[in-house]
């Protein structure tokens, strides 16, 4: 791998990211999968970095999942999105930051479509007015929340308690970065680093001391693919895709996987359990899996947040080997205690995948 070659490509795909005043919208599903991630985003941006990140409880889904599942037409999605923009406009913001990659892609696609077909935008404005008497301005800047963390990666690194290095050997941890498909594959120029070699997560890993692993199936989908997973008959495809990725990254022995999409960490994490049950194979060391983290969780880890406050106990694959490797202090007994220190009981353990 020629690093300079990648750098050259990265330099071609830079995007302008304002340093402050962001209107933040949450993902539909992330809060269920990895509930602390979005909380951590607001926590870090507001409290650690001191940025103005506004959010409103009135926003809805962007309609992306329904759109990609072919259950609602594009005009409907656009009107939903128009309402989201109206909320931003009403709140006085012009920098729009979705937490979801599907949403990011959805917004990017709609803005691009309106750019190409202004009459459609006019129609949607009319539809929105008819529906809820709202008006909107298009966001001046659209950035995914991972773009923001990428943008502030060095500030986070400055404030970090831990670095992504093996505390025993001092070697950088080997981190696989996985980018959500809709982040860059539709509009490479709207992504940090482009579609072929996205830099958004790689940049964080590098800043925080880790080493990025580039493996042959890096570009491959996590396997979620909406209809692949949602229709049970197709789930074989879903898991086969995930399996392909793990087979490809296996020789590199990654310490962790970092992702920026709601579905990816979920499937890369949960499918490791299913693959282990179905094939008897695990991909981490000593029967463990490879921990899969969101970028907010990883940021939380390096900033020294308590792993259990980050919700890492909700991961299928045990994160303890990674925490141990970095040298993070945690209380194993507190893993399954709720916020009120009440015992949440132990989950049932898988038969193959080792989960502490």
């Amino acid at each position: 791998m020629i690093y300079q070659g990648k750098q050259k490509i990265w330099s071609d795909y830079q995007k302008e990211i304002p340093d402050d005043n962001w209107y933040y919208v949450r993902s539909c599903i992330r809060q269920n999968f990895f509930p602390a991630s979005e909380k951590m985003f607001t926590e870090i941006t507001r409290n650690v970095l001191g940025k103005d990140v506004y959010e409103t409880p009135f926003h809805t889904t962007c309609g992306g999942i329904a759109y990609h599942c072919d259950t609602i037409p594009q005009e409907t999605v656009m009107t939903i999105v128009a309402r989201q923009f109206a909320l931003m406009t009403e709140a006085g913001y012009e920098n729009y930051c979705p937490s979801c990659i599907t949403s990011f892609g959805n917004y990017a696609e709609i803005l691009e479509t309106w750019h190409e077909f202004p009459e459609l935008e006019a129609k949607i404005r009319e539809d929105l007015w008819k529906a809820c008497k709202r008006e909107f301005k298009k966001p001046k800047y659209l950035a995914h929340s991972s773009d923001l963390i990428y943008h502030w990666r060095n500030e986070i690194a400055d404030k970090a308690r831990y670095r992504l290095v093996d505390k025993e050997t001092g070697e950088p941890l080997k981190i696989v970065e996985h980018i959500g498909c809709h982040y860059a594959k539709m509009f490479p120029h709207k992504a940090v680093g482009g579609a072929e070699y996205p830099y958004v997560l790689a940049g964080m890993v590098e800043s925080w001391g880790g080493q990025v692993i580039d493996y042959p199936e890096r570009r491959h989908c996590c396997g979620y693919g909406f209809r692949q997973y949602h229709v049970k008959a197709n789930r074989g495809y879903s898991i086969s895709n995930t399996h392909k990725k793990f087979e490809s990254m296996e020789p590199y022995h990654p310490d962790a996987i970092i992702t920026n999409c709601p579905g990816c960490p979920y499937f890369l994490d949960r499918w490791q359990y299913v693959i282990a049950e179905q094939t008897g194979k695990t991909y981490g060391r000593g029967g463990y899996g490879i921990p899969v983290l969101t970028y907010e969780e990883l940021a939380g880890i390096v900033l020294g947040y308590d792993p259990w406050d980050l919700g890492l106990q909700l991961h299928q694959v045990a994160v303890e080997p990674l925490l141990d490797k970095i040298g993070i202090e945690y209380d194993p007994k507190a893993k399954y205690l709720g916020l009120n220190k009440e015992d949440l009981l132990r989950p049932e353990l898988p038969t193959v995948l080792k989960c502490c």
């Binding site: 791998m1 050259k8 072929e196 493996y215 890096r218």
Partner: protein, 337 residues
């Protein structure tokens, strides 16, 4: 006093035209941006279909135009139209007035880094057709392994590809890939060679024989399908994916080396000059000829002539033939004034 004719570009088109113009009694002045004549051909090793050493051709042409005025490492700073000719200002301060101007600026190889998915400049073992020719010519190349077991050739890199900004066929890549596949097989007899093609366009004399030879005598594997992506494995080898469109299935293979058949795009210098004297550009990015049947060497401006790949992708014999035609065209034009 012989009449000056400025030839922009000292590749084989410019050289051949200069040679013919000398014969016709003119004073050709070649303006070449590189430090040597011969253009791309001078960097090539052997030419299809007869495996003619490229250097021989360049050397021969060079000897034949020893009387011509040649400015090396020189570019055209400015051209402006005079009443009955052109004023050509070179970056070395020389100013030439001529009644006829020949553009023989040729092509530029498509920048293979633009096809990011193939990893040229990123992966250790991805090279282009011209890198391979340089290696054939004895230049060391650390990207070429000592004993590759599997070598791939990707046809149409930057050709027939709207997304790469060039929807046209570059014409010579198919036969060049086959030529290079044979040459690589000759160097590494144990290697398996895979050519990934969309269509095989072997239009010229002897080209089909080349193809049959490659199949029958060299066992080159031809896979119909454009390479979709290339990944680098932990051992530095390349995992190549394509759709085998004949089998209707995705295909993957791990290779020790991948050669990208970079296509031809118009030399930016030609675009620059076109802008200065208002020459028409074609939608394929090359200069537009008066027509593409009878007047390929003529431009839309009086006294400006074209030869070779500035008007589109050309083979060596086509380029040479156009250069001769352009010389005659200039002669006829000047006599008609």
């Amino acid at each position: 006093m012989k009449e000056n004719i400025v030839i922009i570009g000292g590749g084989i088109a410019g050289m051949e035209a200069a040679k013919q113009l000398l014969c016709l009694g003119y004073n050709p002045i070649i303006v070449e941006q590189n430090d040597h004549l011969g253009g791309h051909v001078s960097q090539w090793h052997q030419l299809f279909p007869d495996m003619t050493p490229a250097q021989d051709l360049v050397r021969r042409l060079g000897e034949e135009i020893s009387e011509a005025n040649i400015f090396l490492e020189t570019t055209v700073s400015y051209v402006n139209k005079l009443k009955d000719g052109y004023n050509v200002m070179l970056n070395n301060g020389v100013n030439i007035v001529c009644r006829a101007l020949l553009i023989a600026s040729g092509f530029k190889l498509f920048d293979a880094t633009k096809k990011e998915e193939y990893g040229y400049g990123v992966y250790d073992r991805v090279i282009t057709n011209s890198d391979l020719e340089a290696w054939f010519n004895g230049k060391q190349d650390p990207r070429i392994p000592d004993k590759p077991a599997r070598v791939g050739f990707v046809h149409c890199v930057g050709s027939r590809d709207l997304k790469a900004g060039n929807s046209q066929c570059s014409k010579v890549c198919c036969v060049t890939a086959i030529k290079q596949a044979i040459e690589v097989k000759e160097k590494f007899p144990d290697a398996e060679i895979y050519c990934f093609y969309m269509d095989l366009r072997l239009f010229g004399k002897k080209y089909e024989d080349f193809y049959i030879n490659a199949q029958r005598d060299f066992g080159v594997h031809f896979i119909r399908g454009r390479v979709s992506e290339v990944g680098e494995a932990i051992d530095g080898r390349l995992q190549v994916k394509a759709e085998d469109t004949l089998a209707g299935k995705p295909l993957k293979v791990t290779l020790d080396m991948l050669v990208l058949m970079s296509g031809m795009v118009c030399n930016p210098q030609a675009t620059e000059i076109a802008r200065m004297i208002h020459l028409d550009m074609d939608d394929d990015g090359f200069l537009r000829s008066r027509d593409n049947v009878y007047s390929i060497i003529e431009s839309n401006r009086p006294g400006v002539f074209y030869a070779g790949a500035c008007t589109g992708t050309k083979t060596v014999p086509e380029t040479v033939a156009e250069a001769r035609a352009a010389a005659l065209g200039i002669d006829a034009y000047l006599k008609s004034l």
